[in-house]
Symmetry: D2
Subunit: 226 residues, 4 copies
Amino acid sequence: MSKRLEGKRALITQCGAYMGPKSVEMFREEGAEVIAEPAVITSAEQAREIVAAAGEVDILIANFAADASSGTAVHQIDDSTWREKFAVMVDPLHWMVQAVTPQMTARKKGKIVVFGSATPLRGMRHVAAYSAARGAQVGYVRAVGAELAAHNINVNLIAQNFIESEDYYPKSVTETDRFQAYLRQNIPARRLGRAEEDVALAIFLAGDESDFFCGQIIPFAGGWAT
Amino acid sequence: MSKRLEGKRALITQCGAYMGPKSVEMFREEGAEVIAEPAVITSAEQAREIVAAAGEVDILIANFAADASSGTAVHQIDDSTWREKFAVMVDPLHWMVQAVTPQMTARKKGKIVVFGSATPLRGMRHVAAYSAARGAQVGYVRAVGAELAAHNINVNLIAQNFIESEDYYPKSVTETDRFQAYLRQNIPARRLGRAEEDVALAIFLAGDESDFFCGQIIPFAGGWAT
Amino acid sequence: MSKRLEGKRALITQCGAYMGPKSVEMFREEGAEVIAEPAVITSAEQAREIVAAAGEVDILIANFAADASSGTAVHQIDDSTWREKFAVMVDPLHWMVQAVTPQMTARKKGKIVVFGSATPLRGMRHVAAYSAARGAQVGYVRAVGAELAAHNINVNLIAQNFIESEDYYPKSVTETDRFQAYLRQNIPARRLGRAEEDVALAIFLAGDESDFFCGQIIPFAGGWAT
Amino acid sequence: MSKRLEGKRALITQCGAYMGPKSVEMFREEGAEVIAEPAVITSAEQAREIVAAAGEVDILIANFAADASSGTAVHQIDDSTWREKFAVMVDPLHWMVQAVTPQMTARKKGKIVVFGSATPLRGMRHVAAYSAARGAQVGYVRAVGAELAAHNINVNLIAQNFIESEDYYPKSVTETDRFQAYLRQNIPARRLGRAEEDVALAIFLAGDESDFFCGQIIPFAGGWAT
């Protein structure tokens, strides 16, 4: 392994959840100076404070953990669940982008990588609220990616699905014959992706090699979305 | 013109705005009994009341007018503008779907057509909040469309752009040489779409001919998105 | 049913195969004067002769039957099978477009609808040659659709899959429990599409209501692709 | 720079053209043992001979130069130009995949990266034959990628556009004010991509970090396609 992020300062949000722990570990291995932010972000002001405390941020890893509640039919989604999906995944993305872009614009350089989802790219049942919030991330990144490219800031989204995670895919589920059969029939890769594969893509998108990626939604789901 | 919607009851939301007026007119011409709902919908309860008052609803036309504010750089979007986009376009879509699907599920038949946007399908500058909210609609329709298909309810979204509208494309803009040059260079059709073309697609998606469309996002933008 | 194609002359290729018979029947019901061409088209010259004999052609329905051979692993595809897929589906599409566009360009009006496939939009196993040829149709229609829109000619493709057809889905297969289970698990609509639904979409795309569709690839697969 | 391809043998086709020279150089820098194949491949037999001579091939870089003839209206494409596009870009891709997969299947490991195009993903004028052939590559990679994933072979395509190249974008064109204005208006990145950025993506897709990519079409066009 090289040191592909030597000299870069990377701010990783919700560092204890979702892709946070593996990102902190691997970004450090690649030479980045990692600012690991544990907070759940609930306001624009908090986002600004986090960025102010972080100092120079070359790379923002927008990582937001969502309750992976599936199995809810659309008519059973109550209003608080509905709003919470946007509060947890969409609002903090926007606030962090707003907080971090002024300094990136001033330096004419920056990288923003969003750990998003492939769910809104292909229909799935019983994930309406989740898919709507993830779809908002997609629409946001397409627009902001086109806009900030003019300032040499690259904003891209990893549209992942079927990545190993005790939250989304607990072992009690994945080790069943039924789940294994599901993988074989529905995922060309026939397995879950590993967190380190996911973060490797994030490292690629955070490094200087990917300066020509602007506002892209990159499916990362073992061929489930392509 | 035929009477393709004879005997159908169609509820059209925000009937006085966006694609509402033309939809009311053309759905009636096609034989539908139109319930033209003028309200801006701001709560789940209100949505339930509207549907209760409407009685049987065979077709829901989910039409939500948004302030077509563009030209706002992402760092200038204030929190109230940000929230308002979701409040105006995303929440009422969900509430209306929740309100109308129980009766459609009971009858094992229903049509929901959303007037959405192609914006989240292709990056545009200075429309971050709008694109995020429209992207939420896309993710929502993909999920709900897959889910409700099992009950023979078709949910689809018209991903429109460059449709004639005094709100989005005022004549003071469209009649300039600059705008006409823009159309020639960027839109294969070299013109704006007409409201009646847009509603004709909605009628197709609302009628019995399109029962095999489930959770689709149909670009309608003169070839700008395909 | 209305007469939506009154006064239009529609040339339907390979009228005896694939979507041909149902197209001939339903286009006539909609008032079109149908020129039903039975030939398999094997040269540009033949295409020109067919169009010359047809006279004025307002609508070209590009319908090309392919041997629905699936189940062939990529290393087992012999060269003649490989070439035949392009010879049968791609070359005649191009020749017919070349033959028919001069008169459409002169009249500044025309409609070309291709019965294509959703296969190249989503990966499937053991259909490499078929998917490549169908993908060529997709790339062709996107380019030609953008180009000919400037002459007010609309070129669009129906990216279908899971449509009833004795060739693609023989009853001996579709009536098995296994196939029915496959449909329930993989196709949101939980059934095959009917030929008349498919042709209804072609009629929509062939009529005046869809003038704003340019170079579009429209998935038509019960929600399998969206 | 690390040695990310240490111990890998990479066969690069048409090594003197298109992305060949930069690929040979950078794959070597990453530690790969490069078999640089200069030939234009015109038969399945030739492909088999090339692979037999190459010995073990861990990575196939499917690089095929096409005459970048644009500016041809669809009705002016003669039959030999039409066929040549498929002969140059599509047939050799298939033959090389056929030639190389038996050994990859036997080892249960392999990487195939195709330098393709974003053209078939978005309509462009006057590139009908080129877009059709590039679209065939897309359909082929989606199918073969899904199929070969079961053998742990990753097949992916870089859908590039606007990459620096004396063939596609001669300096006599790119240095004009008109072209620079075109870039600013149409490409979010506001510049051409560099060959080394393109090959960096190929290296990522050829290395062990990207084992979860199966049959993907990855736009690489400065945000022009996303």
